[in-house]
Symmetry: D2
Subunit: 308 residues, 4 copies
């Protein structure tokens, strides 16, 4: 498999991990889900992220899922989340998944970091641990990690470590950060790939600010694929029309804590996975929430018809 680099672009879907109703890994659904994502146009996948229920997996399971996903991905790239409280676990999992053929690893900062020095030091330790030949995605998601990385601090990290080739951008607010990075590059800093998360709810603006694509798990990845394509072609109004049709559901899916239950419900409904179950502990949708999702999907379908 080729490695990701600082020119990588497109849509890397944050994949969920399919379980059966009794909490076992649903091996058949892994293949089906991977096929689904690529059928919808994904350029690659990111597995074992926050939405992949990674902390609920044993190390052996993590490696099994990685192996299966990569095997099913043919020439598509698979990034693997390796965030962990300790460097040893990060190093261990990184080595294992890169040996299997991962295209890179993703590392979010642990929530204990506070000062800029601590954040900068952390990524130095990570790179020393995993080596400079593994492409790294830095996940910048303060809403979840509690760690705020300023554009300046991000710049220090990127300049120190060329192997950090990509930013998973999901600061909120964060549009200016994309602009800051691109302006620094215009002045001479080496390029970094920027794929955006935040459940996709700022994708049109992010693309116009200079992002290279999306890395998030909205249950309709075809929207992200199409919005990115239209933006690349400069058809921003058309991109936004499409985006707007999905926005009500995207907004609903973005709810912290509940988001994965919504996403898995929709993925199961679309046939990508068999069961919406999460391994414990996990949320599930009650009847009221299901009715809300169904209503939003119905309205979304209608609007998409109108757009045609």
């Amino acid at each position: 498999m080729t490695l990701i680099n600082n020119e990588t672009s497109g849509v890397f879907v944050i994949a969920c991990t399919p379980f059966t109703d009794n909490g076992a890994i649903d091996v058949a659904s892994v293949d089906r889900m991977v096929d689904f994502y690529y059928d919808k146009g994904a350029d690659g996948l990111t597995i074992l992220g926050m939405m992949g229920e990674a902390p609920k997996l044993t190390q052996a399971e993590s490696i099994d899922i990685t192996r299966q996903t990569i095997a099913r991905s043919a020439d598509k790239q698979v990034v693997v989340g390796v965030s962990a409280p300790g460097l040893a676990a990060i190093g261990e999992l990184t080595k294992a998944v890169m040996d299997i053929g991962a295209a890179g690893v993703m590392v979010a900062p642990p929530s204990s970091l506070r000062t800029d020095e601590q954040i900068i030091g952390y990524y130095r330790n990570v790179i020393e641990t995993i080596g400079t030949d593994v492409p790294v995605v830095l996940q910048d998601f303060p809403l979840s990690t509690g760690v705020q990385i300023s554009s300046r601090t991000l710049g220090v990290i990127l300049e120190a470590h060329p192997s950090i080739v990509m930013l998973k951008h999901e600061d909120w607010p964060g549009l200016q950060k994309i602009t800051d990075l691109r302006e620094a590059e215009a002045k001479g800093r080496r390029r970094t790939s920027i794929l955006c998360g935040n459940a996709g709810v700022f994708l049109p603006e992010e693309m116009q600010r200079g992002a290279d694509g999306a890395m998030t798990g909205f249950a309709y990845p075809e929207m992200m694929v199409e919005v990115c394509r239209l933006c690349d072609e400069g058809k921003h109004d058309k991109a936004q029309d499409l985006f707007d049709a999905y926005l009500p559901l995207m907004r609903y899916e973005q709810q912290p804590g509940l988001g994965l239950a919504i996403r898995k419900y929709v993925l199961a409904r679309r046939g990508a996975i068999t069961s919406a179950a999460q391994r414990r502990p996990g949320a599930s949708l009650n009847a009221k929430a299901i009715a809300e999702v169904e209503r939003l999907i119905e309205r979304q379908t209608r609007k998409l018809d109108e757009l045609k």
Copy 2:
């Protein structure tokens, strides 16, 4: 002025505080803004909230603005935010604003609270400080305060203090909390008014879950007024159509930290206030952000035309 009570419903706009470009209170704009909100259909106002730049005001200024707003509000109700790190300040400001004619006060929990006991104890202290005859709005906004109040804890507080007549609901996710409260009431707990915040982005679902209206500051309050009206009439699809037309801008305005700059920019553009300036320290929009807002407004206008 009449006091709010546990049946209060409708749209209470979270008012901003207008400043001149050099940071003085823009007295003329206060009246103009108040008129604007009522012209757009607001049932009442909430001033000196988080979006009212309250911590940047001296005590004298806070009271002046309250007096002016209430004077201009005729028979409309004005709720005043009195959250402060100390009970003395809460007590002092509450007495002052209730004497002037406020309809009630709003209190968010200080971010130092952790256990359920601490949260319950805090509201007991607040009520002891301000007395049981002042109607209180409990602001439940974990994204900003860091304090998570479970439905159970909220129930304990509401049962202990009948003078807490209203919940400013902006937990995220929070739809189930509305359902929990309404179900507890169906089983015998006394009624509480629920007005929803969270920048309005879940208003249709919140109304269907049993909310009584909105209490947030989106720069197009007429949307909230109309959505609430349509929901009250059971016209949920029509409500959602209208909501969807505004959602792209709402979503943009919801960005933490930057949201007030966006809101004030739009309010100034609409003539509600003269200047979008915030008293220092405050964010302002740069050219790129203004272009994004303008584009969203233009698209919003077009969609609203189509809905007619």
Copy 3:
């Protein structure tokens, strides 16, 4: 009154605020407590700090206590804590207390600050608000504020703002920070006065690292006065002997949340104030805790006798 400056040294006791059992300010005890502190050798006082129950005071009460304390302090210097969530309140209180004759003001960072940029920006805003002619004590107390300021960031702030003349040092661990500051001064940075807090439990080491004295409220200020004097004379072993005799009680008094109750109990026992009561909400000692304190005092008295 003279102002504090970057050479100020000695012991500034963090004064408590005396209340009667029913929560009123105990005006008579204010004078008695001030006399007590100076009788025990204090070089100055710091009032309205975290241990002064400042958030429970109305603005008028804060100013009354400041006036009374300064009037009773003759030529001794009184620093006033003015930390508040908003710059307006900081500016307002600073002006009021400096007009009355305060020697300077103390400002801790609000707990919302995260990145170095935010911390640096905050102190810039504070200085712009209160003017460059008011001497400022920067309170660096991460255990309480949650804000971690690295030596580098502290250096940036001190270099930008000469009116920040003093550091209330209570980082934990923090001995290296004192060394870092003194080494930077040896290389050319302007001098800053460093008075240490942290309940006094590192005072001997802090003095040897280059601190100028103590700023904390241990109920036996004569210990701090004597330890600082002995350290200034180079009698470090004698200083430590004295310190060790008080350490068991100091350690007990350092308990967060409960510390003030212990301190006020001892101050009342020593006759400095009439009642150990805190204004609500506040902790008080139960019988078991009182027995522990009494036992520690009894042992402390015995050890001090042995030292003579």
Copy 4:
């Protein structure tokens, strides 16, 4: 090996993990350190705790160290820390170490927990994951985890899960919590063993409040052993005399972040381990800190001589 139970008492030393200067596990030192702890009177050990640098170990290393420690411990009990962000990792490591012969496992709450419900739910999930036949130590250490567990919430957890046989008590302040637990037991709640952490700095008071011993890693475990013995015999003044002699160093060792470097320095100095090195990232003592430690040890030795 016998399992810990709700009557377990004495001193369980929190063991460090010895590394060579280049970061490899120092296998020889593991045995030497284990012998050292038991020579000094330890009743058992707790390994892979926060001070055991557990997050820096690979899973294989964790199991190797557990195996070696248990093998060397003969009939002494070894508790193993298994805290992890995910239940799968907790379950996996628990099974592995119990199979090897651990006496129980220790679980601290993850820092993301906020409400009482979340905390209660977390321990329910843990027990469901590892089974009800594994004795669990609940580590209650808010200073490090950020999770505050009230006495009431602790009671709910203890009543629901009889397999949680022990509390590692290190809330701060926390003496009242010991009293609360013992009073609830006097009224009928089943007994829980309470061993105290917090670097030992409240050990005499904790024993008098009803604790069963200590579980912390102070580099002079013989102090804890002797203090517990004397307290059990009712010789509280003698216990406190001994405690006081060690307190200045204990206080110094208690510094967060730096504490382990101090502890390992002293353990290496005492011959328990070969190198004070921590696996990266880790702090180390510079010359100034070493001089401070040496001075405290010298004074401590002198005082202990005087006590004889």
